[in-house]
Symmetry: C2
Subunit: 281 residues, 2 copies
């Protein structure tokens, strides 16, 4: 497989890892990296993730066959539009955002007709670490990538996006973008909020009394605040729904404990254990 | 160092690991294991964790110099009393329970005068795994053990308990038992409740849409329900206090999101990140 000229917009952990993987697997004639920070781009090129670099999005997209937008979710739509305005009509554009509905809403009716096509993607790979310095060529190996075509998406174009991720070692799942957002509110966004809240209420002088359980449970709270605020805001309604379910579940715990209802407390703990056990270690 | 005859009451993950560590480091003349399940005891002896085994607590404690009670927190006090009734007067008894106040309350006024002495311990080492089969000789290496003497604790006896854990490779911290319980409510018990609640509200059909963040955040939800119910109940008041702080923190998150207060949301995320970053990875 060769995807021609690939342009990566936003060269952080994900964008940098895509560059490394594409180069290692020889999936492109040229990998072009776009970003705001020239030194960051230089470093990514030096690390072997990129062939060419530019701070000018239009210049880097004008001859692209495949574009991956790897900017924060509140900037994806604007970058997709900017790319679509200059890219060749056969160009396929995708992204890696953790939310999909907001991007489609922002793009609605704005994509140039007869021009490049956009289909959303979300690789379920990431880290509380940030930046191209943490990029890894195998970040997507055996990871799931959710691809979110909509009703009028060209099936051939959707297949190109599938193939791209599969060539990076990922598994593909097609999903409705809004269903994706509702699910990710529970499986990713709510856990982040819970981890942040746990860390946030822990008196710092008691941190030496933590062990592996606390470390694991709060690890993702170290994530970037701006990135995560954008994700929560982009998926506001679904996040609030998942939060309501979570606080209701905590109320059941509190009630069982307050009323000394031992069987109810056991039952409540078994509910969580059953689902966690189903996931495996 | 030699602690003479050591008896371990309750040979699970912690008790088994103590046996392995004591034997490996040659800290005892005899390691005696007590439990209800003879086959479990036989396996622990076969694995090298124990020299002698018995299902009769009194028999196994009658000639002990040092006793470690490793049963669930709702059984520790009864086992300490049973051991104290038969142990020599010079014998030092400690435990490994995750809660300390409830044990002292249950023991209050019941220890035989002029007999064996009890001081609580809590090694901050453990796992969502359970049972002697997962025991490891290095479970306590570089881990913190909180030792909780009270006002009338003999300082020499407290030093013996410190030395015991230090000889197993652990670091020691002395702490008031009630302060211990208040701290552990935040650093251990609340995270467990949050992890259980997160897992409990996640629709099982969406588990394939989880990644490392969900896995980490919910890992401890796989812990044993009976063990954890006993811990929550033993530390009820402090757990409810920590839960109230947690739900209040979640309400601040919800308010910032609902009212689209971006600076407040960023500030909230930074609070959690600052504390998690202070802990290290």
């Amino acid at each position: 497989m060769n995807f021609g000229q690939i342009t990566i917009i936003g060269v952080g952990l994900i964008g940098g890892s895509i560059g490394l993987a594409v180069k290692q697997r020889k999936l492109a004639t040229v990998v072009y990296g776009v970003g705001r920070d020239e030194r960051n781009l230089e470093r990514a090129r030096a690390s072997g993730a990129l062939d060419r670099i530019s701070t000018n999005l239009k210049e880097a997209c004008a001859k692209s066959d495949f574009i991956v937008v790897c900017t924060p979710v509140d900037r994806v739509a604007a970058d997709v539009l900017a790319a679509a305005q200059v890219a060749p009509s056969h160009c396929v554009i995708t992204d890696v955002g953790s939310t999909k509905g907001n991007i489609l809403a922002e793009l609605n009716g704005k994509m140039p007709s007869g021009g490049a096509t956009f289909i959303g993607s979300h690789p379920l790979a990431g880290s509380e670490k940030r930046g191209a310095a943490h990029a890894k060529a195998d970040l997507f190996t055996d990871r799931l990538v959710v691809v979110t075509p909509i009703a009028d998406t060209d099936t051939e174009v959707a297949s190109v996006v599938d193939l791209f991720w599969q060539n990076l070692g990922a598994r593909i799942m097609r999903m409705d973008p809004h269903e994706h957002d509702r699910a990710l509110a529970f499986t990713s966004h709510l856990p982040h909020a819970a981890a942040s809240a746990l860390a946030g209420v822990t008196p710092i002088e008691w941190l030496n009394l933590t062990a592996g359980g606390f470390k694991d449970t709060t690890r993702i709270a170290a994530g970037d605040a701006e990135l995560w605020a954008a994700i929560f805001e982009a998926n506001r309604d679904a996040v609030l729904t998942s939060l309501a379910a979570f606080t209701q579940q905590l109320e059941r715990f509190r009630d069982a404990l307050e009323t000394r209802d031992h069987p109810q407390l056991i039952q409540w703990l078994i509910e969580g254990k059953r689902i966690r056990d189903a996931l495996g270690s």
